[in-house]
């Protein structure tokens, strides 16, 4: 099947995927790692709140890099810095712990499990389209995560290749350029409306994938598509069907 995106009137040839939240369930596995760490270190915290607080630092930590007031550093680096911030919020000095143990905890972002529909869905979409992650993760983090999660890609597009973070326009347009495609021939699939807004502004086709449990049972954001995205799906397998595979 040939899928032509209404927003671009172009045939989609590649589908690129946001990763954290869209493909992998970061909250469950980060909470499990935080719980294990707390047990071993003899501290107490609510592991899901800890995971939420860590993730809450994600956007603020990228903001100065997007704005150009800080040079590019990788998401691996930001995750590690943000871990110290979260410990500080809990009134715990980072130097309470062996730095190696904090590094190990921080690397949990490289070992997340995919949502149940992802592996099958990507393989089906790959039968008809080029597929790759387009993530704010750096390439090495994406490679480690993809191996761990068993994701099969044609190409891996990390933020370090572009030197800034989504939703900066040059990330989306740079991805299309590396694929040798026009922006309108590339579809971003994401569980986050702001990411899709960035992609649409850069001329890409868009697909919303609902992940109503990304932030747990009380999630308030991104419960539904809030823009004129080309497709809306409940899962990657659902998206595969909508794309004809």
């Amino acid at each position: 099947m040939i899928y032509v995106a209404p927003s671009t009137s172009q045939r989609v040839r590649a589908v690129i995927f946001d990763t954290f939240g869209t493909l992998v369930d970061w909250r469950t596995d980060v909470a499990a790692a935080a719980d294990e760490f707390a047990d071993a270190a003899g501290v107490e915290w609510d592991p899901r709140s800890f995971a939420d607080a860590w993730r809450a630092q994600y956007q603020p930590s990228m903001a100065p890099i997007r704005a150009g007031s800080r040079g590019y550093v990788t998401l691996d680096t930001l995750h590690r810095e943000n871990l110290d911030t979260v410990l500080g919020q809990l009134g715990i000095a980072a130097n309470t712990f062996d730095p190696k143990h904090l590094d190990e905890l921080s690397s949990v972002w490289r070992r997340l499990r995919p949502w149940a529909d992802v592996t099958e869905g990507l393989d089906r979409i790959r039968a008809g389209y080029l597929v790759g992650p387009l993530s704010n993760a750096n390439t090495a983090l994406l490679v480690a995560l993809s191996r761990h999660a068993g994701l099969r890609w044609d190409v891996v597009l990390g933020s370090d290749v572009f030197g800034t973070y989504k939703p900066e326009r040059r990330v989306y347009q740079g991805a299309a350029s590396l694929l040798g495609l026009e922006p309108g021939e590339v579809m971003l699939a994401a569980a986050h409306n702001d990411d899709l807004a960035g992609a649409a502004a850069a001329g890409l086709a868009t697909a919303f994938i609902a992940r109503p449990l990304e932030h747990g049972p009380d999630q308030q954001t991104d419960l539904s598509a809030d823009g004129p995205w080309d497709l809306t799906a409940d899962s990657v397998t659902d998206l595969a069907s909508l794309l004809g595979y």
Copy 2:
């Protein structure tokens, strides 16, 4: 098995591969395409000589980009320009032909077949190491070639990511950086001594893979390792064995 490269005294964690000649047999398939084109267009040329002449433009066409006297353009673009050059050498004006047919002929570099040992060898090496192509091809060309040839990668590293061509040092070191590794933790595998010399100068580990038929039965160059490379193999499966997989 843990493989420690003698040249770097570091454990190798990723093996990256030169592509044209090392993994895919460009001469046979380019000659076949040139033969088919000549038949359809009603011209006559020796298809293997045509393929050799086309490939002979490869290094000269990259030289001004390496030197910085020409801005980066992709290998897809150079292949197409070099095709016109080769036609000119034969005394045939490029405008003799429909440009679409020349574009189609030029895209043969995206549809080459791997040497017989490659698919199995890469899958075996991937069991213990990160694997990816590090090629002077652009990403889109590598993605198309890898899908056509059935090559499974963790990451795809095209020259467009680095904005210049091997053997410039920043290509090799940039690849290690994207993989989150030190240069000495990365091994380049290639059938070309000059590529391995560039990798070694950049601090990478090195493996020579002999491809004595790359240029046909009369090949004079790269018949054997001419530097102190860490490993010398007859095939990618042989390299897998030497790396313990």
